[in-house]
């Protein structure tokens, strides 16, 4: 091989290597759960059900599942049977489209609708301990399964709205979600690591709350953090963000009930 062709081959190789590397990183999944950003002690708290304080709520949820409610005096178990079988993988498919109301719905919303329609009971207020307990109990039956947002065109406008919100600057600090959780994930904000913001473990037990809370509560904390006025509790924006986040975390494992700092 002459010096010239050798040189050309090297150049070609040099040109190819970054291209190959780039395609490899595109193919590799760089998404990391919030669990990876926590200390080993805190990870242990989530991984061991005998330590995880969220299990207090899950235990309540299991009891509520079997407790008759409403004027219909039926329990969740009367229709759905054992949650371990009937609810396995269900939470991974939310938010979904509710054909009866013609609206998108998340898992907590589905539980509320079920209460109204089939138990003829009143709905719980947002963040009610019983709602969180049942939500966590149902979602836990999908633990370890990949998030599989439904392939439903009717959810597309909601997801688009969620993505727009994710990219929209908000508040006095004039920051969008993506500025921290896409562009600066892994860096630190004060003493805290900035996670990538994958909502895989809600309802989650947060040490800051010393209790279980919903994704909406977590998002509200972020809005207050950038000095924005949070949306009202029944605003459609929360569900839009949830729908976009589910798509963004598609294929990642459900972790409910997660523990977060």
């Amino acid at each position: 091989m002459s010096a010239k062709t050798c040189c050309a081959a090297l150049l070609l190789a040099a040109a190819l290597v970054p291209a190959l590397a780039a395609s490899r990183t595109d193919a590799a999944d760089l998404r990391r759960s919030g669990l990876d950003f926590m200390t080993p002690a805190l990870q242990a708290l989530q991984r061991d059900d005998r330590l995880n304080p969220a299990m207090l709520w899950v235990q309540d949820g299991a009891a509520l599942w079997r407790t008759p409610a409403g004027t219909a005096a039926t329990s969740c178990a009367d229709c759905h049977g054992e949650a371990r079988q009937s609810m396995a993988g269900v939470a991974a498919h939310y938010p979904a489209w509710d054909a009866i109301s013609g609206q998108p719905i998340n898992l907590a919303g589905r539980i509320q609708r079920c209460r109204q329609r089939h138990q003829q009971a009143s709905t719980w207020p947002n963040e009610h301990a019983d709602l969180l307990a049942l939500d966590a109990y149902v979602a836990m039956q999908s633990r370890g399964l990949p998030l599989a947002p439904p392939d439903d065109a009717r959810l597309a406008p909601l997801r688009a709205q969620g993505q727009a919100l994710w990219q929209q600057r908000l508040g006095q600090l004039n920051l969008a979600c993506q500025h921290c959780h896409d562009q600066r994930a892994g860096q630190r904000l004060g003493g805290a690591a900035i996670p990538q913001g994958h909502a895989t473990g809600y309802p989650a037990y947060r040490l800051e709350w010393q209790g279980l809370g919903s994704l909406q509560r977590r998002l509200r904390g972020c809005l207050v953090g950038v000095r924005a006025q949070p949306f009202t509790s029944d605003a459609p924006e929360w569900l839009a963000l949830e729908a976009y986040l589910a798509l963004r975390a598609k294929g990642m494992a459900v972790e409910t009930p997660a523990v977060r700092p």
């Binding site: 005998r50 330590l51 304080p53 207090l56 235990q59 009610h128 019983d130 040490l207 010393q210 209790g211």
Partner: protein, 109 residues
């Protein structure tokens, strides 16, 4: 349901006579230290669990004092050895007459 005090008690399976085993307990409790304001600026009254005790057939096997710096939902773990079948009694005591009792029968083989 939310008002009811909840606890989690974990005992290992297959206990053996004379063989120590780990007991893990979590109590659902806010552990309010009486210094925090609520959302409206009013101080939340102090409500702490101050004492925990575990007895195996009237014999004290573990006693713990809890203090304000301990976070909500206190978790404790300790080791117990039993030579015969018996009853484990768990008791948490706290401010304003707070009492929570749980019992678990054990039958080491």
């Amino acid at each position: 349901m939310a008002e009811r005090t909840r606890s989690l008690i974990h005992l290992p399976q297959g206990l053996l006579k004379g063989q120590p085993f780990e007991v893990r307990v979590t109590l659902g409790h806010p552990m309010e230290n009486g210094l925090r304001p609520d959302g409206f600026g009013n101080v939340v009254p102090r409500s702490l669990v101050t004492h925990f005790e575990c007895k195996l057939d009237e014999q004290k096997v573990c006693a713990v004092e809890l203090y304000p710096a301990i976070a909500a939902n206190p978790y404790l773990s300790f080791w117990v050895r039993a030579d015969a079948p018996g009853m484990l009694v768990f008791e948490w005591l706290g401010d304003r007459g707070f009492v929570h009792r749980e019992t678990r029968a054990i039958a080491p083989a």
